[in-house]
Symmetry: C2
């Protein structure tokens, strides 16, 4: 993944979003951190370098990115929004032990765009969420639960 400033600037301009310094920072963070961070995580990191950064700006920026299709919202935890730079339709797995959220590659006719309607209702967003125990956490228990 290319994460230089020029590339990020182009990405914003391609969507008609003015590439301000704050917006470049947020988009750069999301390209570097593909682990579906929270607004808080993004804020904490950026505020280290730019102490004047406001949390409201983080939220404003993320919402602007969402409206312009630059990012996707992942609401798998139910408690807060996680942000995803990967805007291709894909599924997610949340480990209830370690809390990590990882992308899931499964054959899905909805993600593939083969099915765009259900009973006459138009599908605009697809969210496939799985919850359980990830492989690493299972192995950590030394015994593989069935």
């Amino acid at each position: 993944m290319i994460t230089n400033m020029k590339h990020i600037k182009n990405k914003l301009e391609a969507k008609g979003v003015k590439p301000t310094y704050q917006r470049l920072c947020v988009l750069k963070y999301l390209e570097k951190n593909m682990n579906h961070p929270t607004a808080e995580m993004i804020y904490e990191n950026i505020a280290k370098k730019i102490p004047t950064m406001s949390k409201t700006t983080i939220y404003n920026t993320l919402n602007l990115f969402l409206e312009n299709g630059l990012i996707h919202a992942v609401t798998i935890t139910g408690t807060e929004v996680r942000y995803d730079i990967n805007t291709f339709s894909h599924h997610h797995f949340l480990c209830r032990k370690c809390g990590k959220i990882v992308d899931i590659e499964v054959k899905c006719p909805f993600c593939d765009g083969e099915i765009t309607q259900i009973n006459g209702s138009k599908i605009e967003e697809i969210h496939g969420y799985f919850k359980g125990i990830c492989k690493k956490c299972r192995e950590k228990n030394n015994k593989v639960e069935r």
Copy 2:
């Protein structure tokens, strides 16, 4: 769907949950209202008849039901939990126009229990959420959008 008190009482006892008056009320409401209500909606309705009912009891009861597998949580809106008496794995559609949440019947190997693991991670919960415009809302616009 049978919604008499005897049936509801049995359902609680079968899960080892003491059938208190408040719990019977909440479970009865959920059996009568399969439209995935919020805690607020459940509270408002029950409080009409039982003014002493506390909202905390509603939350306590719903969480108890969740722990005992009597109901499922649907977090499709991202803003609040919706509660579902239907504990068979199934998908949901949220209309961004009218806000209704409806059950979706799609062939899904995860819901069917055919696939219980992904890359060594154990699947315990499946959430299939679709968002868009429902059939009725599309027809209301008089023109069927593509």
